[in-house]
Symmetry: C2
Subunit: 354 residues, 2 copies
């Protein structure tokens, strides 16, 4: 008997079913910049006008083993927002406006239901980011993934006028660091979190823990916050007094803050707040050392805005009005000339946790 | 004893080793458009000047189970070129000039050696595409992939002046289809190819077959051809007489040609050439039906250029001068008004293979 592609494990019909379900989801994210009906092999997008030197800003990311929580709970409709958030929150740190997003979904055996749920989350994330889901690839790779598992990669493009690019070269001694709250673990450190929660503490995803709202699965699946709208408000309120933005991902503030600090300055974190409870559970449950916690998790800080000292109150006001938790996290102080920035923790309420 | 991220399966040091090895590879792909030293969280790229309405063109793809051939042979330094090719060949069909590329590399346990080999292939592909490797994500996902395995996703962005976008709306009856040779299976249909070659024919990757140069592994790993330079020559030679370009990927000419054909025309393929030997081996070895072969593999045609009839010779000359195998594959004929394009095979030398 003749052999077909389908027998080799690739189900074109299931893929086409999925594509039909993705189309309206992607359509709902369409912006004025998306060009339709042309370019059958690629997505096309025009640029916003009014920029002297439009500069493209691009980033790619995945969601790490937060995927394993989606697999364990069978809930696939929010992990897509995480994917968008991880990419988009990176590109907006430059001051860029998001334009479009593309996703890669790789799996061993395609399920249109799971795929459509994942893409729904991606489309939700794109809407929160005010950017278009311009394209994607659904790859069925027989034998590459365990049953029911998949990997995701995301890719975001935005644009910023060259003269408005934010970053280290705008940051100066005296600047204030504004912390912007995270919604939980976001999408970094899940291998350690699961090792502690599932491995050491033997918790199931439906466990209810003191101080946590909902089940452990609910807490672990809480989508990564998307800061696009908040940052737009902040830009509008502060103008040139917004100097830099730091997306606090893997590595924590220790590794991420230096990416927006010039040589010769340090960051003094003297406005640290108590961690969200899930981080305390993990720290106790491991136990995990304080330094390891700081280098692995966001510990409640999703983004940091570096602003001129006189605009700090205005920044907090604008972020609060946009629905964010925002507070004075610290400031930029003199460091050693010619040396990379150091991050100093001062009066951290978690130094001696209760 | 306290638990660390490393014990949870994430080896930051190995990741940092890999990043150090990737840096010079990415640096070698730098173009005049890449902005350096700013934007610590994302890649930045300026736009070429001189376009009235610059339009961004973007695509994402993977390399499918060609990965399994890389795993089986332990050769990881060319699969990256496949990744770039799959994305870049898609975006240049619009007439776009590639600007930059980003990659996602997901694995269960990171090996800097394997990662560096993969990224070397990606950087090679970027150089062949005259585009910058602007960023990437290396994700270590303990428990997600089998030992020694990984998945890859690629993202490409190019730019085209809106008035110059190629595609179906430029194609008309009388146009000539110029076939541009593939270098083998490229990166589509490997699940079927491996099912036949390994499953039915019980061949090992070091098998030597009549009519095939090198081992089976050599043939299967031959990198997907990148058509950037050839297409640039074609654009220069033909100007507005280049109407459309079709990247012949999964689905074959049957499914890909219609993406660049307007309603009411058909494509008559009367200049088909004998297939490269590997496709004949697969067809016999399955056996695989002719229709299934046509819907799964490129069968020797990597790209198709649709050009004005009077420029067909000029197109073949320009492509040949650029080092491509190019020939008259067929033409555009009248179809049924208002109906989608049909693809007609005429005098296919593989209809009754010897």
């Amino acid at each position: 008997m003749a052999i077909t592609y389908r027998q080799a494990g690739v189900d074109i019909e299931e893929a086409n079913t999925l594509i039909d379900r993705i189309k309206p989801l992607a359509m709902a994210t369409k912006t004025q910049h998306v060009l339709e009906g042309i370019g059958g092999f690629a997505g096309l997008c025009s640029l916003p006008g009014g920029m002297a030197e439009p500069t493209l800003v691009s980033g790619t990311d995945g969601v790490g083993t937060k995927l394993k929580v989606a697999f364990a709970t069978g809930r696939h409709d929010t992990i897509g927002q995480d994917l968008v958030a991880m990419c988009i929150n990176d590109i907006i740190t430059t001051g860029a406006t998001p334009l479009f997003f593309l996703d890669y979904f790789g799996t061993g055996h395609l399920s249109a239901d799971v795929g459509a749920a994942v893409v729904k989350g991606i489309a939700d994330g794109c809407q929160l980011s005010e950017c278009a889901l311009l394209g994607g690839e659904t790859a069925e790779l027989p034998g590459m993934y365990a049953d029911g598992e998949y990997d995701l990669a995301g890719f975001a493009v935005g644009v910023v006028d060259k003269a408005k690019i934010l970053g280290a070269d705008r940051v100066q001694v005296g600047d204030v660091l504004i912390g912007i709250g995270s919604t939980g673990i976001h999408s970094n450190g899940y291998s350690l979190a699961r090792r502690v929660l599932e491995g050491e503490m033997k918790l199931e995803m439906d466990a209810q823990l003191d101080g946590l709202e909902g089940t452990l699965g609910d807490v672990l699946l809480t989508p990564t916050r998307i800061y696009v709208k908040a940052v737009k408000k902040l830009q509008a309120a502060l103008g040139d007094s917004l100097h830099a933005l730091c997306h606090n991902t893997g590595g924590g503030l220790v590794e991420n803050l230096p990416r927006v600090l010039p040589e010769g300055v340090d960051a003094l974190l003297d406005g640290l707040q108590p961690w969200p409870e899930i981080f305390r559970v993990i720290r106790r449950g491991g136990p995990v050392e304080l330094d390891e916690m700081r280098r692995t998790f966001n510990l409640g800080v999703g983004m940091v805005a570096l602003v001129g000292a006189e605009e700090a109150d205005e920044a907090i006001k604008a972020l609060s009005a946009a629905g964010e938790k925002a507070w004075r996290l610290g400031s930029i102080v003199e460091g050693n000339e010619g040396e990379p920035a150091a991050i100093a923790y001062h009066n951290d309420p978690e130094e001696s946790p209760s």
